[in-house]
């Protein structure tokens, strides 16, 4: 089996203003909504990137596409797996059991629960929600395709590999 190094969205926290534009862009693009109608009709966005406050300033949290990903290891239905240089989620397979959320050391996986009626009884449909590097909406991974990177007003984000990351911090 060939292995390629995963890519992930790196945020330069010294640049991040905490404006949360990335959250909005992520939610809108994955849900195929426009901002004004989402606001007006009360559609809640479900961003896969979240801006958190830390003592050092704002930081973003999203899937780092770990090489030895705990979420992949714990998934009981193999809905999470490595493919094409990223940690991929199969929404059809996912049962929303939250094991991946628990296993993720960054808290980068949320589970979205939707109740719906099936045959007269309420059924919960749950799916994990994590950064997919926008492959689900564009079909390929690139910096230009990542909604969060494109939305950042201070250009604090980059799509990089672990090697590039290493180079950055050393």
């Amino acid at each position: 089996m060939t292995t390629s190094e995963n890519r992930f969205v790196h945020v330069d926290s010294s640049k991040c203003l905490g404006c949360r534009s990335c959250e909005i862009a992520c939610g809108l693009s994955h849900q195929d909504l426009d901002l004004f109608s989402a606001a007006l009709h009360g559609h809640k966005l479900e961003p896969r990137i979240v801006v958190k406050h830390s003592e050092q300033g704002p930081i973003t949290v999203q899937c780092r596409h770990c090489e030895d990903a705990p979420c992949v290891q714990v998934c009981p239905v193999n809905a999470l797996y490595h493919q094409a240089g990223m940690v991929t989620l199969s929404e059809e397979t996912c049962i929303g059991c939250r094991l991946c959320s628990k296993a993720c050391p960054f808290g980068a996986i949320r589970v979205r629960v939707k109740s719906q009626l099936e045959g007269g009884k309420a059924v919960n449909k749950a799916k994990a929600l994590k950064c997919d590097l926008c492959i689900s909406r564009i079909g390929a991974v690139s910096e230009e395709a990542c909604a969060c990177i494109q939305s950042c007003p201070v250009k604090a984000m980059k799509l990089i590999t672990a090697a590039e990351y290493q180079h950055k911090i050393c």
Binding site: R20, I24, A25, L35, F36, A38, L40, L45, Q150, P153
Partner: protein
């Protein structure tokens, strides 16, 4: 071409040049701002105190209130009415400046000014209940000025502003008074908005929005007096033929652009240009001095003097790129600070003239009403000196310009109609509205914005409405758009008007001796002149004894941008007009505010906002609003 740039050829010719030479324009800077902040676009960011900034997240899991507990509706309403206050302050300061000039004239401190339209002055006196009997000219001026300035200083809240009370139907004034939104004092209305939006004061969105309506009507008041007093001072516009677009800049002339809004200075720039013409010729410009207009100062001098219009707001940088603009003289409002930097790339002299408007990179010549002529001479001599430094190899003037028939003040429209019926000039207009030859009236107002292709929405909506026999009026940068595109011509009437509208415009034009129809779009002036259109609507309403919200009259601001436009749009709604916005206002974060502005105001004032960004769909919605009014009137 970038899809969001201009839709007209002169601008695109200059933008190609800008790209080649790496001159930055408003469109480049807009691109650099993208994507714009979602919280800002929704109006949900509150910066009113230093516990913040707070932003409510109406599309997420929270927070749903600011640190103080203000919810999204409070925050959006506060932000909105602060914008209205700023717009009102801008317009009304313009009005105050004109009124104070009248006062200075009466005291002998503004020797260069004269009253050019005595009849208008007397009409104003009558409107303000000032008797003419045996009064010296200066005494009359003084009384008119003081009565107008009283609209900025009255402390009795029960007495509405004189310029509001005397210009709208009684039934409308009664309605506004009952709502508590008839302002007694322009400045107080602005101060009230600032006070109630201070931290820990008004949190009720409906109460906040009512204060916004009052503020907008103060804006109306300030605008109305600005226009009327300017007419008395500089003359009431009459139909005039001129031209528009960048081709009005002449290679063999000293070209001086006047940009901004206030005619107090630009009138003298025009006068002194004529006086100093020989100095320009001696400097080598055999065509002499060529004054051209930009934005609304451009509209002011177009309307009164037939000065050609180079361009409207959004493309105000482009005249500099022709390399043949020797000076750009600015007063106040809608002047891009970028002119400073851009003019330094050329020989062009940017000259600021008002103490409240200085721009880095500009030469400042403080304009005083006491020395209007002298200041203007100094400005023109700076332009001539700049001309001597012009690099003629850099000159690149687009050759296109369109004919413009402008100058349609309310008086001019009534004057043209009086040729059909001297005893009852409004009757032909009214008859044609009633019989459906004219389905309704649409006033295009407002700005330009790089969020849409420049001018395109104006042109699309106007053509759609003209086809459906709607009479079209325009002011401000809307008027600029139509002027540049050749829509203020007889040919445009022939090409775009529906058959019955065309017949009416022909009949009026022929009777008025124009040897052809009235132009398709009537140029009613700068953006401060929107009240000219209201005065016509009020005359119609009074004639048939209805309120303004019953008339098939609509307003449209397809490319609105400024806080002044926000104030104008809000008073149009307050007066009862359906008012279209073609740019999504920064209020969408609050369903309550949106509901009030687009629905609830129907019950309060009869007016409401229509937000529609697609020009074709907007035209349909505007036409539907006209039809609804016609049905209610039973016509």
């Amino acid at each position: 071409m970038n899809k969001n740039q201009s839709c007209e050829p002169c601008a695109n010719e200059m933008l190609t040049l800008a790209r080649t030479n790496k001159f930055e324009t408003v469109w480049d800077r807009y691109e650099q701002q993208l994507p714009q902040c979602g919280f800002g676009l929704l109006g949900v960011c509150c910066r009113l105190c230093w516990k913040g900034p707070c932003r409510v997240n109406p599309v997420g899991d929270g927070p749903d209130q600011g640190v103080c507990g203000a919810d999204v509706h409070t925050i959006v309403a506060r932000n909105l009415i602060r914008g209205i206050a700023a717009g009102t302050a801008a317009h009304s300061d313009h009005g105050r400046h004109i009124a104070k000039t009248l006062l200075e004239m009466s005291e002998g401190h503004a020797p260069d000014y004269i009253i050019k339209d005595q009849e208008k002055l007397h009409g104003i006196a009558a409107r303000l209940n000032i008797s003419l009997d045996g009064k010296e000219h200066n005494q009359l001026l003084r009384e008119i000025a003081l009565k107008s300035l009283e609209d900025f200083s009255r402390q009795d809240e029960k007495i509405p502003c004189a310029w509001l009370e005397s210009t709208i139907p009684e039934v409308r004034l009664a309605k506004l008074t009952a709502l508590g939104v008839a302002p007694h004092n322009i400045d107080a209305s602005i101060a009230d908005i600032m006070a109630r939006t201070h931290v820990g004061t008004d949190a009720d969105p409906a109460n906040l929005l009512l204060a916004g309506l009052r503020g907008s009507l103060a804006d109306y008041t300030g605008m109305y007096l600005a226009t009327e007093l300017s007419d008395a001072l500089f003359g009431t516009p009459e139909p005039v033929v001129t031209s528009a677009n960048l081709g009005v800049i002449k290679a063999n002339c000293v070209n001086i652009a006047v940009n901004g809004h206030n005619p107090l200075l630009s009138e003298f720039v025009c006068d002194m240009a004529a006086e100093l013409n020989d100095e320009a010729i001696q400097a080598g410009a055999d065509g002499g001095i060529n004054v051209v207009g930009v934005c609304c100062t451009g509209n002011e001098v177009l309307m009164r003097r037939g000065i050609p219009l180079a361009t409207n707001y959004l493309s105000q940088e482009l005249p500099i790129l022709t390399g043949a603009l020797d000076a750009i003289v600015v007063d106040v409002q809608c002047i891009m600070p970028s002119l400073g930097k851009l003019s330094e790339c050329f020989h062009t002299k940017l000259i600021t003239t008002m103490s409240s408007c200085k721009i880095p990179g500009a030469t400042h010549i403080e304009f005083q009403t006491q020395t209007a002529k002298e200041s203007s001479r100094e400005i023109i001599r700076l332009a001539i000196a700049a001309y001597k430094r012009r690099d003629h190899d850099k000159v690149n003037i687009p050759q296109h310009s369109s004919t413009v028939i402008g100058g349609f003040s309310a008086e001019a429209v009534v004057g043209a109609l009086s040729k059909l019926d001297a005893n009852d000039p409004l009757k032909p207009l009214l008859d044609n509205i009633v019989n459906g030859n004219i389905q309704g009236v649409a006033l295009f107002a407002g700005c330009n914005t790089p969020k849409v292709p420049q001018d395109q929405a104006y042109l699309t909506i106007a053509k759609e409405l003209a086809k459906r026999n709607v009479l079209l009026l325009a002011t401000g940068c809307g008027a600029g758009a139509f002027a540049k595109a050749g829509m203020m011509t007889m040919e445009a009437t022939e090409e775009f008007a529906g058959d019955s509208l065309k017949a009416v415009l022909r009949a009026i034009g022929e009777a008025a001796g124009l040897n052809g129809p009235l132009p398709l779009v009537l140029h009613m002036g700068s953006c401060v002149d929107n009240t000219r259109a209201v005065s016509l609507a009020v005359a119609l309403a009074n004639k048939i004894g209805v309120d303004l919200d019953q008339l098939p009259v609509v307003a449209s601001a397809p490319e609105c941008m400024s806080e002044k436009a926000l104030a104008i749009g809000t008073w149009a709604v307050s007066l009862g007009f359906p008012t279209h916005l073609g740019v999504i206002p920064q209020v969408m974060g609050s369903s309550v505010v949106v509901d009030v502005l687009t629905e609830k105001t129907k019950d309060l004032t009869g007016g409401y906002f229509i937000v529609e960004t697609d020009p074709q769909a907007a035209a349909q919605k505007i036409y539907t609003a006209i039809q609804e009014r016609r049905q209610l009137l039973g016509i």
